[in-house]
């Protein structure tokens, strides 16, 4: 028996992140609290170095390694870069918050890096097993992160909920995968697809395949947070420390989108008719529940949770269309969404300070009087989330709606537009609070230089990408 060493070149970024995470875990043990910035610096170095490595190693042709269970292609390069960059922004936003609350510990960064690694594995997975591996690595890191502030009962409660529900979802996904394996006899996604084509001829297997598909869709739906697998989102966003909520809200959605592409589009392409129908149901429900219930929220983190659900409705709608245009539109949307979400949570953290979370909508009242610039940044973010031109959120919605209309689902496009109009209400309410109401809190805004600069850039990106949407759009269209 010959032992073939697999080709390690395509997984160099993942290896780097893994090794660095382990190294940081050890190094951090020996650092006193006042030298914690070394941990932080190393983490950022790892993330940005990962991006650099991905860009250096990028090739236009897919490279499959590890016996067909791992793939590096332009899609994974783009999404992994996005995950790493967004995570770098998240860690940057998180630092002042953590410092102010005695949460500035190495574990946050180590868990975060392992979560990032999990996402990278998910994005590059080319077999059911790798995919599951990445998913669990991410999920376990996140469970721990949610409970990171272990003295806060709300955090523990939401971690518990997240853990239990996440386990159920993982179990379902695993069950679906095992069925697929049983039917097709392959773990490799290419093999699965081939096996399905063969299996579709038999009516019995056909039924079993759709049965398996339903379980897989539940797993993906849970990860993305589509209705009715969304219940964890509001409670977790609300209970988790704001930086963790930010972390969960941004990058993992990109990874969730990636596994949807990998599993449904690559692996289960022959079942497209069925999964399109399932995703349609999820999209409609997500748009409705997300937009409508967000209106009733008074806590801005919960509002963002429902807003996430509504945005995911759009992403799922793009996937549902089932063609290249739809996938590109969905990808564009999810990337834009991650940016908007990072900015939104960044604003909450800007307003918060020790002993004050600034997570009520009222806390944004009169922001214009306190800081016209950051009120404007928030305005750009809210406009973008609501989809008001010329912000990039408009183009994201437009791209998805275009693909939906091309698929002759006019009613769905209309439905999405009507619910977006309803959704515009709660975004504009924030703007109204900022500009037309008197401040209830007049403490000066705290924020270090790098925080303020990146947050401003984050807000300005909404308008910059909105004016030049072609930059990002051509990228997403090229990889898909």
């Amino acid at each position: 028996m010959n032992l073939h060493l697999p080709d390690f070149a395509p997984v160099l970024p993942e290896l780097t992140v893994m090794l660095m995470a382990c190294a940081i875990l050890v190094i951090d043990l020996f650092l006193p609290q006042e030298r914690r910035h070394i941990t932080y610096g190393l983490t950022q170095f790892t993330l940005l170095g990962g991006v650099a490595l991905i860009l250096v190693l990028a090739t236009p042709d897919p490279r499959i390694t590890f016996g067909g269970s791992y793939v590096a292609d332009p899609l994974s390069d783009l999404l992994k870069s996005a995950v790493l960059l967004i995570s770098a922004v998240v860690f940057l936003y998180a630092r002042p918050y953590l410092q102010a609350r005695e949460l500035y510990k190495g574990e946050f960064y180590v868990l975060g890096l392992f979560g990032v690694l999990g996402m990278m594995v998910m994005i590059s997975a080319h077999s059911l097993l790798t995919l599951y591996l990445g998913l669990e690595l991410l999920a376990l890191s996140l469970y721990a992160l949610v409970a990171f502030n272990r003295d806060a009962s709300a955090a523990s409660e939401s971690a518990m909920k997240y853990f239990v529900l996440g386990s159920i979802a993982s179990g379902m996904l695993l069950y679906g995968m095992s069925l697929l394996y049983g039917i097709t006899g392959s773990l490799n996604l290419t093999g699965v697809a081939a096996g399905i084509v063969a299996g579709l001829t038999s009516p019995d297997l056909n039924l079993a395949l759709v049965f398996a598909l339903a379980f897989v869709v539940v797993g993906i739906g849970f990860k993305l947070g589509a209705v009715p697998f969304h219940m964890w989102i509001p409670d977790v966003y609300h209970g988790a420390p704001t930086p963790v909520a930010l972390f969960i809200s941004a990058a993992p959605k990109i990874a969730g989108f990636a596994i949807a592409i990998r599993l449904l589009v690559d692996g289960l392409a022959p079942l497209q008719e069925s999964w399109s129908g399932m995703l349609l149901v999820l999209a409609v429900l997500s748009l409705a529940i997300g937009n409508v219930v967000a209106i009733a929220q008074t806590n801005i983190k919960r509002m963002f949770a429902y807003s996430t659900i509504a945005h995911i409705g759009f992403v799922v709608m793009g996937l549902m269309v089932g063609n290249e245009q739809g996938y590109a539109a969905g990808m564009f949307y999810v990337l834009v969404y991650a940016l908007m979400s990072a900015g939104g949570f960044g604003m909450i953290m800007l307003l918060s300070r020790k002993g004050f979370e600034a997570d009520n909508l009222e806390d944004f009242k009169g922001l214009n009087d306190r800081s016209p610039w950051f009120a404007f940044v928030m305005l750009l973010l809210m406009f973008s989330m609501a989809g008001i031109p010329p912000t990039v959120g408009f183009y994201a919605k437009l791209a998805v709606l275009q693909s939906v209309i091309q698929a002759d689902l006019i009613w769905l496009a209309l439905f999405a537009v009507i619910l977006s109009v309803i959704g515009a209400f709660y975004y504009l309410r924030v703007v109204k609070f900022m500009y037309f109401d008197k401040p209830v809190d007049d403490a000066p805004l705290t924020g270090s230089g790098d925080f303020n600069v990146v947050l401003s850039l984050n807000g300005l990106a909404m308008i910059a990408l909105g004016l030049f949407p072609g930059v990002l759009m051509s990228l997403t269209a090229a990889v898909r």
Binding site: L165, I168, V210, F222, P228, M278, V281, V292, I295, A296
Partner: protein, 663 residues
């Protein structure tokens, strides 16, 4: 020639722009100088154009000067069609406008809105010229609406008076009714020819006359009849024909110069001009001609009757205008287009003259308009007296004056006409001659002869008081300044002599190739066989019934209002219902107020309460937001916080997917 036509149109527009936009900078003198200069340029160039076409025999000009847009095969253009009809109209419009401009200097001397007034009358001149010079329906419609707009603005010139606002709104709304039909008429024609151009349309008239429409299921309508009647309904509003005439008497709320210019001489004749211009189309529809004939005859007679009971000097002239417009309409209906245009021209001169004379009297009376407070003014204002007498004689058709020739032509034409309704119309226009003479000289005697009633206290039922009515009546009445009397004299000249053009205009070849008349209905040509020069026509006139009827009217007026003033009072007391009917104008206003105005308001109320307030505001806008809010409140309850509920939802979701797609 194109640059001349452009100059004719644009000179008044330039004047209007300067006086209107820079009124404060150029001042009062500046405003009237620049607008009078503009309209003078227009007038002299129009005279030159008229000479070119009428005497030098220039070929008709028909070309577009500017293409606004080309859309879907339709060309939207600004273009001029200048032939003898247009040239005549241009001359009349610019001449009267020129006179009125000069007159206004005196009439509006003390008014704070002096510059605005000059700007508006110049703008009116521009609009009217655009209307008459149009070579396509788009421009015609532009001019049509523009004159309507300026008319609206000028009727409401004294915008602080509620009665003026009422009157201008009324004029606007009534004209809207006509415009609706007018647009539909244009649309019907354009729909079938895909062209807005007159020439294209006229060329295809024969072909169009074969097309029928099915407006109601099972009925066949001739396209041309429908289009012509619709266009004429537009003309009925603009030219104040029954039952769309109701706005014209009220329009006397505007200053007198515009009553003369717009509501007597020019704008109200736009409908007459339009029908004459469209004669190639109308000749294909006997139904439309009959309709026109009947409407015109009714207007000519019954509106004249109302003039008998009016006490406001301007309203008498206004009803007289209605009646005379009826005569012109009758001429159109009898296919005697040339007679209609001829009467339009003579009427423009003598009616403008009468209005301006009335204005001169009003100045002398310190803006008093009630004839019961006048009398015996003849000796105080000789120029006004003589010119008003000329106007009155022209109006009643006294032989030798312009009105005689034009009105006689119409009456003779109707007599010979075989168009359905001609017999009915003939009786009414003949009777109208008597009525015309009666109310005209009733006014003339009440104002210029008899007892000097202005020295007495006002009568108890005096209700016509206006903003200027309380200047007191101190001092003797005296003649108006030269800027007022000069136009009177200048207008009196054509009021006498314009009639001697009857030969070429009615029986000659002046309108050959411009006005089209079907040979079977060419009553004027038939009359022309018996025409042997103007003097013969004049002599013949003394033997015709219209002359004797006019004399009878004149003498009756003298007898009733000068000789035995008691008769009028007795008649009023003996026939109260007749007097009341006439006083109320046959109840048109009451009917419109009760049915259309009140009905529309009630419909509006209903649509507001039901459609807007209930459906849109309450149900759609507030209702949807409340429904969303309610749904949000309900749905958020689903987020219970209990882990097993969340897990349950996931299981249900899974089962739902399996049930829906696998089974």
């Amino acid at each position: 020639m194109e640059s001349i036509y452009l100059a004719i149109v644009l000179a008044p527009l330039l004047g209007a722009a300067v006086a209107g936009l820079l009124g404060r900078q150029v001042g009062r003198a500046g405003a009237h100088s620049v607008t009078i200069a503009g309209v003078a340029v227009s007038f002299f160039l129009s005279a030159y154009v008229f000479w070119q076409h009428a005497v030098a025999g220039a070929a008709p000009y028909n070309d577009s000067v500017y293409t606004w847009m080309v859309a879907d095969g339709f060309r939207f253009e600004v273009g001029f069609l200048v032939d003898r009809l247009t040239a005549l109209m241009m001359l009349v419009v610019t001449f009267v406008s020129f006179m009125v401009h000069i007159y206004t200097i005196g009439y509006m001397r003390d008014d704070p809105g002096y510059q605005r007034f000059f700007a508006l009358i110049s703008l009116f001149t521009f609009s009217m010229l655009m209307l008459v010079m149009a070579n396509n329906f788009l421009q015609l419609f532009f001019g049509w609406e523009a004159v309507g707009l300026v008319s609206y603005l000028l009727i409401g010139f004294w915008f602080r008076r509620p009665s003026a606002i009422y009157a201008n709104l009324k004029a606007f709304i009534v004209n809207r009714v006509g415009d609706m039909a007018f647009v539909l008429g244009i649309a019907a024609l354009v729909l079938h020819t895909s062209s807005l151009d007159y020439a294209t349309l006229f060329a295809r008239a024969e072909e169009l006359s074969g097309i029928t429409l099915s407006l109601l299921p099972g009925t066949e309508w001739s396209l041309l009849s429908v289009a012509c009647i619709l266009l004429f309904i537009g003309a009925m509003a603009k030219s104040a024909q029954v039952p769309l005439h109701v706005w014209l008497p009220d329009s006397m709320e505007g200053p007198t110069p515009i009553s003369a210019l717009i509501h007597a001489a020019t704008m109200v004749t736009a409908g007459i001009f339009m029908v004459a211009r469209m004669s190639p189309l109308y000749e294909h529809s006997v139904a439309a001609l009959g309709f026109i004939l009947v409407i015109g005859a009714i207007t000519a007679f019954f509106m004249g009757l109302i003039g008998l009971v009016q006490n406001d000097i301007k309203r008498v002239v206004a009803y007289s205008t209605l009646s005379q417009l009826g005569y012109m309409t009758v001429a159109l209906g009898a296919s005697a287009y040339a007679a209609g245009i001829f009467h339009l021209m003579t009427h423009a001169f003598f009616k403008a003259l009468l209005f301006l004379a009335a204005g001169s009297v009003i100045i002398a009376m310190h803006h008093e308009q009630d004839m019961r407070r006048m009398g015996g003014l003849g000796k105080y204002m000789p120029v006004t007296y003589v010119t008003a007498l000329v106007g009155a004689l022209a109006l009643i058709g006294f032989p030798g004056f312009s009105g005689f020739f034009s009105k006689d032509g119409i009456i003779e034409a109707v007599h010979l006409s075989s168009t359905p309704g001609a017999g009915f119309a003939y009786v009414l226009v003949l009777a109208g001659v008597f009525v015309t003479a009666l109310y005209t000289f009733r006014m003339f005697f009440m104002v210029f002869h008899g007892e000097e009633r202005f020295r007495h206290a006002p009568p108890p039922d005096h209700g016509q008081d206006d903003a200027h009515g309380h200047h007191g009546h101190g001092g003797e009445p005296h003649e108006s300044p030269w800027v007022v009397t000069l136009p009177l004299v200048l207008l009196a000249i054509p009021s006498v002599f314009a009639g001697y053009l009857i030969g070429p205009l009615l029986f000659g070849d002046f309108f050959d190739g411009v006005l089209h008349v079907d040979p079977s209905r060419d009553v004027l040509a038939e009359l022309g066989h018996h025409y042997h020069g103007v003097w013969g026509y004049l002599a013949h006139g003394f033997m015709m019934p219209p002359f004797w009827l006019a004399m009878a009217g004149l003498v009756s007026a003298w007898y009733i209002y000068l000789r035995r003033p008691g008769i009028a009072r007795v008649a009023r007391e003996r026939l109260p219902w007749l007097h009341a009917t006439l006083q109320r104008g046959y109840g048109f206003d009451a009917f419109n107020d009760a049915v259309f105005a009140a009905g529309t308001r009630r419909l509006g109320q209903f649509l507001w309460r039901f459609g807007d307030a209930l459906i849109i505001d309450t149900l759609l806008v507030n209702g949807s937001s409340r429904a969303v809010g309610w749904a949000a409140g309900r749905l958020r309850l689903g987020q219970t916080g209990y882990l097993y509920h969340y897990a349950f939802a996931m299981i249900i979701g899974l089962l739902g997917l399996i049930l829906a797609f696998a089974l």
